[in-house]
């Protein structure tokens, strides 16, 4: 627990203490203790306020959540505050020191004892109040956190949907299909089939369902085939997936953005075009999927990697920090993006 101090709190605590002091004075007088209401009032105020100031002042030295620190602080400041307060009270009430020490030492000790007793009770009251307000603040923090998370999830879903239907891609592909239907109908039909395949797998599956790695690779192949028609000999690609990994279940639409990134920022803007290599391997504890291109690569002003922030966020949400996305410069040119997906995963996180 942490105590923070400012003038407002300081004065507020003193005022509340003064109220308690008055109640204590009335209570003691009612019991018939001490030297009447006036004397009791003077002593309880001076002792109480002194203790309170001592404790508050002590907080300048003991901070942070250390409980032993606070206990030691109270063990020192309460008796000290009570003693100093008693002397001040005696001054105000018109008693001399010698009179107190020689004539009525028992009264003085009783006063200290009562001061510390009530002081402990009041300190406990302040402590509890502080704890309640901090618990409330914590609760509020958590509520804000969960709302932020909810908002973030919604935003991710929205971006995922937008990523699936990129208008520039769609219109460009349709224009190509239209022109091929005139000049090369067989090629045009094949392209339309690839577009259909791509749209079906990217749109129809809901994000909560798992696909297989094979399905995802078919989607990527259809996507790359479309680009091969559009870019002609400027694009070459290979996809390498071991047959036994095709049935592994895999989250949808994680590979396609990597390929899209390689095409958009690597190969398309490069006059000569280049190659794309998609490769999946199995390691002892993860699947390693990489998309490498020989394109423009990373330069400070290129847009490379814009679409990858989205993939990173989804990986974080799906695998709870256990998946990794690594970006490297490819040799001799271009970019290589590697995704490491752990073998085991918690389905609970996935369904989010």
């Amino acid at each position: 627990m942490e105590f923070r101090l400012n003038n407002k709190r300081f004065l507020g605590s003193l005022a509340l203490t003064a109220v308690f002091n008055t109640i204590i004075a009335l209570f003691l007088t009612h019991l018939g203790f001490g030297g009447g209401l006036r004397i009791n009032f003077i002593f309880s105020q001076s002792i109480g306020l002194c203790m309170c100031s001592f404790i508050l002042a002590g907080h300048y030295f003991v901070r942070g959540p250390s409980i032993p620190g606070h206990v030691i602080l109270l063990l020192i400041t309460m008796p000290a505050g009570a003693t100093v307060g008693a002397f001040i009270g005696a001054q105000i009430a018109g008693f001399s020191f010698s009179e107190i020490l020689s004539g009525r030492p028992a009264f003085f000790i009783q006063m200290l004892f009562i001061g510390i007793l009530f002081g402990t009770m009041i300190t406990y009251f302040f402590f509890s109040r502080e704890r309640i307000s901090q618990t409330e603040a914590q609760l509020q923090d958590e509520q804000i956190k969960s709302l932020t998370l909810e908002k973030k999830t919604l935003q991710t879903h929205l971006r995922l949907l937008q990523a699936q239907i990129e208008p520039h891609f769609l219109f460009n592909t349709l224009s190509n299909v239209l022109s091929l239907l005139e000049s090369d109908p067989t090629k045009g039909k094949a392209m339309l089939m690839d577009l259909t395949r791509y749209l079906r797998s990217s749109l129809s599956r809901t994000r909560d369902k798992m696909n297989t790695l094979g399905q995802e690779m078919d989607l990527v192949r259809a996507y790359l085939e479309i680009y091969r028609v559009r870019m002609g000999e400027r694009l070459r690609y290979t996809i390498e997936v071991p047959g036994e990994l095709r049935d592994v279940s895999f989250p949808p639409m994680l590979v396609q953005p990597l390929v899209e990134n390689a095409l958009k920022h690597g190969l398309e803007p490069r006059v000569e075009g280049g190659d794309i290599f998609v490769k999946v391997e199995e390691d002892t504890d993860c699947y390693r999927l990489s998309v490498a291109d020989t394109g423009l690569g990373f330069s400070e002003d290129s847009g490379a990697g814009i679409g990858l922030a989205n993939v990173r966020e989804r990986l974080e949400a799906l695998f709870n920090g256990k998946a990794r996305l690594i970006l490297e410069e490819n040799q001799p040119s271009g970019l290589k993006v590697t995704m490491e997906i752990p073998h085991e995963r918690s389905e609970g996180h996935y369904s989010r």
Binding site: H168, S175, N176, S179, S183, G232, R270, G273, L308, L327
Partner: protein, 252 residues
């Protein structure tokens, strides 16, 4: 009317063919004297053939259609071609620049051709300053100019770390240490240079040798000696704040 020459520039072959076929339908007398696959070829063709009209795809490798247009002021009338670009289309409309949307329809092309014929007679062309304005406005939409990745040495290769994943940067002699959840790496750049390239909204310089990612700050407190101390989320270490940077936390 004298013979009119045109060139077509698009990086996608089928689309060049398609536009050529449509032009043959709506403007049979037009001579298409060449096709270009990228911006540089388009520029060469224009210099060589001196066409009256250039159909330029906006998104081409090498040079964009707009960059080509900017390099040939007054040489020929330009028609921009784009598949989909809300910002560009809006800008073309406002500046009354000719443009076509892919896939190009014959009706729409016929309208553009009619306008082109009128304008060829008056000799009116797209003024250079309009082009310049279009290019600067459209390149602003490309995203922020702040650094998004830092290059770090990793084994034999170079890795790219997204700056959003960086918890803080710490000066290390002439270079800079990058601290992420996964560990430390070295950027071969002084922290002063990095600090200038990072987004100041997200990355706060709190000390001559420390730049921290604001989203990882848990809280800030003052030590016994009155120095500011930053506590990070899920990290044991704390970072000290020099007095000259304490103003960053005044609103907290």
């Amino acid at each position: 009317m004298k013979e009119v020459k045109a060139i077509i520039a698009d990086d996608e072959g089928p689309l060049r063919q398609f536009l050529r076929a449509r032009l043959a339908e709506v403007w049979p007398e037009l001579i298409v004297s060449g096709e270009a696959k990228n911006g540089k070829e388009a520029l060469d063709l224009i210099h060589r053939h001196r066409p009256h009209i250039a159909f330029l795809d906006i998104k081409m490798p090498g040079l964009t259609g707009m960059e080509v247009a900017e390099k040939i002021p007054g040489a020929c009338r330009v028609v921009f071609v784009t598949a989909y670009d809300e910002y560009a289309v809006e800008a073309f409309e406002r500046e009354a620049v000719d443009y076509l949307l892919k896939p190009v329809s014959s009706e729409r092309l016929a309208r553009t051709v009619k306008r082109l014929k009128e304008r060829l007679e008056t000799g009116a062309n797209v003024p250079a300053e309009i082009l310049h304005r279009l290019i600067t406005r459209l390149s602003e939409d490309e995203g922020s100019r702040h650094l998004r990745y830092v290059r770090v040495q990793h084994g034999d290769g170079v890795r790219l770390i997204p700056v959003d994943e960086v918890i803080y940067f710490k000066a290390d002699d002439k270079y800079t240490l990058v601290i992420t959840k996964e560990g430390e790496s070295l950027v071969r750049k002084p922290i002063k240079e990095l600090a200038e390239e990072l987004d100041p909204e997200k990355f706060w310089q709190i000390h001559r040798g420390t730049v921290v990612n604001a989203r990882f700050i848990a809280r800030v407190s003052r030590s016994l000696t009155g120095k500011g101390v930053v506590k990070l989320q899920n990290r044991p270490e704390t970072l000290s704040v020099s007095n000259r940077y304490m103003h960053l936390f005044k609103q907290m």
